[in-house]
């Protein structure tokens, strides 16, 4: 018997399938747990199981929905993991949320807070260094809902709001979750996004309001245009909000027509909690503008010496509003760099105001490319490239080259025409075509020296182009390095 304790059983299953991978371990564990399947008295030894699947497959948690047809079409087998319950094995060092709440009361008397206490800290990445935690207070969200949103869009308790934007980001948090509940509306949450599922969710719930990002509008429109019979174009949306990145006028117009709705383009930053201005409010839209200041918000443009500049002159756009953050968590220095004594927050966006009070962004302060003494606005060059008939979008950055110098490089995404993999009749633009196009529209020093065709541009959760990644400067922060400290 003593010998037995030193013998483990090996189960070797080199040609199994996905269901085996789930079933083997579970059955051995069940066989060992007292009271279950005790049909015989044979004691089961400690066991090592080594398995390999003979097919490609996905082993999915109980809450994951996998498209069966799509999986079958791609020869991918699927196995579901058993739902974990209160009596299931628990991962060491963790607590199940359900376990935590099962013992808790349905009543809780809220702890009193000061309206100026931080409610949320959201980390934002700057152009350099570590992300900074923007402290947003209860007052920030309250002012956003009661004053700013009210001046842009009429939320009511009868609205159904699409919650497709990630709630961990300020855009989704403020404009889907918090606004929706402030007005007693219903939030329709989507855990996973695909253009198809978004379209179906709008339709099935007869959603009335949708905050989204430009690529979603673009892809929904693309889907609506495939004219497939299985696609029903919902007309229930009465108001849409676009933000995070600029929405092209063509997409905006077409979307409004096809979906019979209105789109308003908002502009805001994590540090401003909410949109601080919007274009398209009450149907008044100016191309290329971010709109006029919303109610309760002051916007202004300052030069490098901190002096106000007149209408039409370029400077840095600054915001003063009750939605402005309290500062960066534990980082007074970074706070002082952007927030001055008069309460102005400097956005880092360069632009101007026209005589009617509409604001225009011309560039990001730190994205300016300086080459041979000239300042180039990447945005200007990108807008020119985006007008090329074979181009969807482009990003222009200075890329370090082998000579230790930098080359102004345009990363160009060719037009999407039809489903993935389908032949593109227009073809991809050639280097020469792009060069000739830029020669027509841009001064010589502004023309990119190099063109790179890419499938997509690296973007943040809300669709901002990550220029550092294009420059090849970004570290891979997904790695966990060994620290021998």
């Amino acid at each position: 018997m003593a010998q037995k304790e030193h013998t483990w059983r090996l189960l070797y299953n080199p040609e199994g399938d996905v269901a085996d991978i789930v079933a083997y371990g579970a059955s051995v564990a069940e066989g060992r747990i007292a009271g279950k399947y005790q049909l015989s008295t044979t004691l089961v030894p400690d066991t090592l199981i080594i398995q390999r699947s003979r097919e490609k497959g996905i082993i999915a948690g109980a809450d994951v929905t996998v498209d069966k047809n799509l999986a079958a079409a791609n020869s991918i087998a699927i196995a579901k993991m058993a739902r974990q319950g209160r009596n299931s094995a628990r991962a060491i060092g963790t607590i199940q949320l359900s376990e935590l709440t099962s013992k808790a009361s349905r009543n809780f008397s809220s702890v009193d807070v000061d309206p100026d206490d931080p409610a949320v800290i959201i980390y934002t990445s700057g152009t350099t260094g570590n992300p900074k935690g923007a402290m947003l207070t209860h007052r920030n969200f309250h002012f956003q809902c009661t004053t700013i949103v009210k001046s842009l869009i009429s939320f009511t308790h009868e609205d159904r709001v699409i919650g497709v934007l990630p709630l961990y980001h300020i855009y989704g948090l403020a404009n889907a979750l918090i606004v929706s509940f402030h007005y007693g509306a219903c939030l329709v949450l989507m855990p996973q996004y695909s253009p198809q599922s978004l379209l179906e969710t709008i339709d099935r719930n007869r959603a009335t309001i949708m905050p989204a990002i430009p690529s979603m509008y673009q892809l929904l429109l693309g889907l609506a245009r495939t004219k497939s019979r299985s696609i029903n174009i919902p007309k229930s949306l009465r108001a849409c909000i676009s933000g995070g990145a600029p929405l092209s006028l063509a997409v905006m117009k077409d979307f409004m027509t096809v979906f019979d709705t209105k789109i308003m383009e908002g502009y805001g930053l994590t540090e401003s909690t909410s949109s601080v201005c919007a274009n398209g409010v009450g149907g008044i839209y100016k191309e290329g503008s971010i709109g006029k200041a919303a109610d309760g918000v002051e916007l202004n443009v300052f030069d490098e010496q901190g002096r106000e500049v007149p209408d039409g002159s370029e400077g840095e756009i600054a915001i003063r509003s009750e939605t402005l953050f309290k500062g960066y968590w534990n980082n007074l220095e970074a706070t002082r760099e952007v927030l001055n004594d008069e309460g102005w927050f400097f956005t880092g966006d360069l632009g101007y105001r026209d005589s009617e009070g509409f604001y225009f962004i011309t560039d990001r302060k730190k994205d300016i490319i300086i080459t041979h003494g000239y300042n180039i606005s990447p945005r200007e060059v990108e807008e020119v490239l985006a007008e090329h008939p074979k181009v969807v979008e482009a990003a222009v950055v200075n890329v370090p080259n082998v000579k230790g110098d930098e080359t102004v490089t345009a990363f160009v995404v060719p037009k999407f025409s039809g489903p993935e993999g389908a032949a593109d009749p227009a073809g991809k633009p050639t280097h020469r075509e792009l060069q000739e196009f830029c020669e027509l529209h841009l001064a010589p020093y502004k023309r990119p020296r190099q063109y790179v065709i890419v499938d997509s541009l690296p973007k943040s959760a809300t669709g901002k182009v990550l220029r550092r990644e294009l420059r090849g400067e970004s570290e891979d922060t997904r790695l966990i390095e060994r620290s021998d400290a």
Partner: protein, 309 residues
């Protein structure tokens, strides 16, 4: 649907917890949240948030504490968000796509005492927990794990053994980690190192994941490793990920082939694993099969695994 007369109260008071309470009093039975086929009324949402606030308070968390939230758009995000507000604590939400150092920085900088995350991420968080001294509680929810397997690349290893062998679970993790490092080194992956609970890495990349669960008198250890690089393209055909974030959706992984330059057959891997594990634990292995009782459980578990909704 009926739209009852809503109580026309004045503007809501500032304070996110108070807003939810006042709105709930106004719209008690009205829909607050829809998720897949489930509807939650304002009252239900408020109660779920209260339970989370109560549960967190039970862990000793309270006013001003930072609590990280790493969840996708699921109801638990909403309940946790307002539960934390009711506690007077501060929510630190962040991108569910973040990996490794990004998370570690945020947890450290904010001094978060607890994190609420999907169960899939628990081993990644455990891996960096030693770098985040304030982080005391890893609270997990949802079952959204997604494991991709391939005939050439991936190997799944499970161990079911007496808990008595390692009274301290950290020792169980450590031993398994050390054994794997030895195996990888013997197979030529010289850079393999055990990276706290949860993984073996080579350089910064993941070479194996380790998860250990406990139930009654047992430890159940799940390990996944890769003999060859995995082709993830088919995965993205089934699971839609917007093209511009595809790169960030996966954690950087490596494989024995990439690390050692050797194409190791599964048989060899098995032999090396059995040798290292055997000498470390002082046991011998006998190749066997499922018992009759286990076979019954196996058939049932296979059937459950194949039942797709």
């Amino acid at each position: 649907m009926k739209f009852g007369k809503s109580k026309q109260a004045g503007p809501l008071s500032p304070g996110l917890a108070r807003t939810i309470e006042e709105i709930t009093a106004r719209y008690r039975k009205r829909e607050a949240l829809r998720f897949e086929n489930r509807i939650y009324t304002y009252q239900e949402m408020n109660e779920e948030s209260n339970k989370i606030a109560g549960g967190l308070a039970g862990l000793g968390l309270g006013k001003g504490d930072r609590i990280a939230l790493m969840l996708p758009n699921i109801p638990e995000f909403v309940f946790s968000f307002f539960g934390i507000q009711k506690l007077g604590a501060i929510v630190v939400p962040f991108n569910t796509m973040y990996k490794g150092r990004e998370i570690s920085f945020i947890l450290r900088d904010s001094g978060a005492k607890a994190i609420i995350c999907l169960s899939n991420f628990s081993n990644m968080i455990q891996e960096i927990q030693s770098e985040c001294p304030e982080l005391k509680h890893i609270i997990i929810t949802g079952q959204r794990t997604f494991v991709f397997v391939e005939p050439e690349g991936s190997v799944n290893i499970q161990m079911v053994f007496e808990r008595g062998r390692f009274p301290d679970p950290k020792e169980a993790f450590f031993t398994v980690g050390e054994v794997l490092v030895e195996v990888f080194r013997k197979l030529g992956a010289a850079d393999a190192w055990y990276s706290h609970q949860g993984a073996v890495r080579a350089g910064g990349r993941k070479l194996a994941t380790i998860m250990i669960s406990e139930i009654e008198n047992l430890y159940i250890c799940n390990i996944m490793t890769w003999l060859k690089p995995m082709d993830t393209a088919p995965l993205f055909k089934v699971l839609y990920v917007p093209p511009e974030i595809k790169e960030r959706a996966l954690e950087p992984m490596t494989s024995i082939l990439q690390e050692s330059g050797t194409d190791v057959p599964l048989e060899t891997f098995k032999q090396v694993l059995v040798d290292s594990l055997g000498s470390r634990l002082g046991v011998v292995f006998e190749e066997g099969r499922l018992t009759r009782d286990e076979k019954i459980a196996y058939e049932k578990n296979r059937a459950l695994a194949g039942r797709l909704v």
